[in-house]
Subunit: 205 residues, 2 copies
DNA sequence: TTATTATTTAGACTATAGTCTATGAAATAA
DNA sequence: TTATTTCATAGACTATAGTCTAAATAATAA
């Protein structure tokens, strides 16, 4: 054994809990699954569970970071020469499709509920996330190309765009059926990007 | 006694629970107050509590509807002849100040957490709310005045503006200190309204 | 090798939101 | 007035997330 058998066992336990939990979440929905059930079905214990994860949300947040992998791959499909607006709308569209179909509303609900809990470490708050980096880069390129004036506050703008994403996702979760995430977020973002352009397009010299 | 003493007593019990709860929320923060404590301090019981309120959130939602009174009064202070942009920005500003200072972050957290719970009846979802009516009216007037083209979908636009509010409030709650609600939401909304105007200002004839 | 320390796991226990049933009293019907 | 029904209330009970302690065993030091 490379790793001490202790660590190996711990890792296996964690993995077992993790996979069992995700399977159950998918089958019954996040709220319908109890920690006791996860623990029981994965042949582990409360002690093991809370040793490896902070909370029931925590277990899912671990999966949620997969989204960063998605982002990394997805931007490859966006042509470098596309306009800022095209890039942002494409990113939005890709993200919303991914979240709606790969993550699902129930899991997103838990992420957004968790985001509201008072604490220092939040996924949303973490500005190292891929989305922020990607948006930052979009804006930087747009400035270089003269699509946006150099005075724009890149960080702030990226944050606002991410906020648009959160706003649309929040409403999707809150409003239930009848809310078309793809359509709504497309139209919303179309307006927002137009606003950015109107405010920050360099003046004709 | 006008009312039967039965109803009167019930009303008094409800009021006692309500006031005790709000006082406790204010003093200790929503999450630090237990239903048992509310019940005990208000000399009532679990049965009485859940007879009058759906949940711990529910008790606060009742207070939260006061915000509609605020809206009604606040729009009186906005001059009729102001532009759409001015009106929306003023409304936003007034709302955010009210929520930040009168409601407070803790209570708003509970409202937003509650908004995510799966159910039919949500405060946000209820399109009868004053905000929606006010926004609808702003847009209607703007169309009449030729500020916006008549093709705009009033309901959809109002909903999107309300979504901007939610997005900013969500981030305010999620990001904790360092997030300046007033400033952030002003700048955000400035962009969004510019986007609306760019897309929906009637073309020069 | 033996002793010590650190860490994983088991599972009993706690805290708390919310449910359920019984009681008593008021409203209503006879 | 008496009987019946309805409804507010009390408080025991349930469900479940999360804590805490102890036991077991691996890693490390002597």
């Amino acid at each position: 054994m490379k790793k001490g058998s202790r660590q190996l066992q711990a890792e296996q336990t964690k993995q077992r809990i993790f996979e069992t939990a995700l399977k159950l979440f998918e089958k019954k929905g996040f709220d319908q699954v109890t920690v006791d059930e996860i623990v029981q079905k994965s042949n582990s214990s409360k002690g093991a569970f809370y040793n490896h994860f902070d909370s029931k949300y925590g277990i899912f947040l671990e999966k949620f970071t997969e989204i960063d992998t998605f982002y990394e791959e997805f931007i490859q499909t966006i042509p470098e020469e596309a306009s800022l607006k095209e890039k942002i709308l494409k990113l939005f569209q890709g993200q919303m499709q991914y979240l709606e179909h790969e993550m699902g509303k129930d899991l997103m609900r838990s992420v957004y509920t968790n985001g509201l809990i008072e604490s220092e470490n939040h996924y949303f708050t973490n500005t190292d996330r891929s989305v922020y980096k990607i948006l930052n880069d979009f804006i930087k390129v747009a400035v270089e190309r003269g699509e946006l004036m150099p005075e724009v506050n890149n960080e702030q703008l990226s944050m606002m765009i991410a906020r648009c994403m959160r706003g649309n996702l929040y409403d999707w979760i809150a409003f239930g059926k009848g809310f078309d995430l793809q359509e709504e977020s497309k139209q919303f973002m179309d307006i927002f990007v137009e606003g950015i352009l109107k405010k920050y397009t360099p003046k004709e010299k």
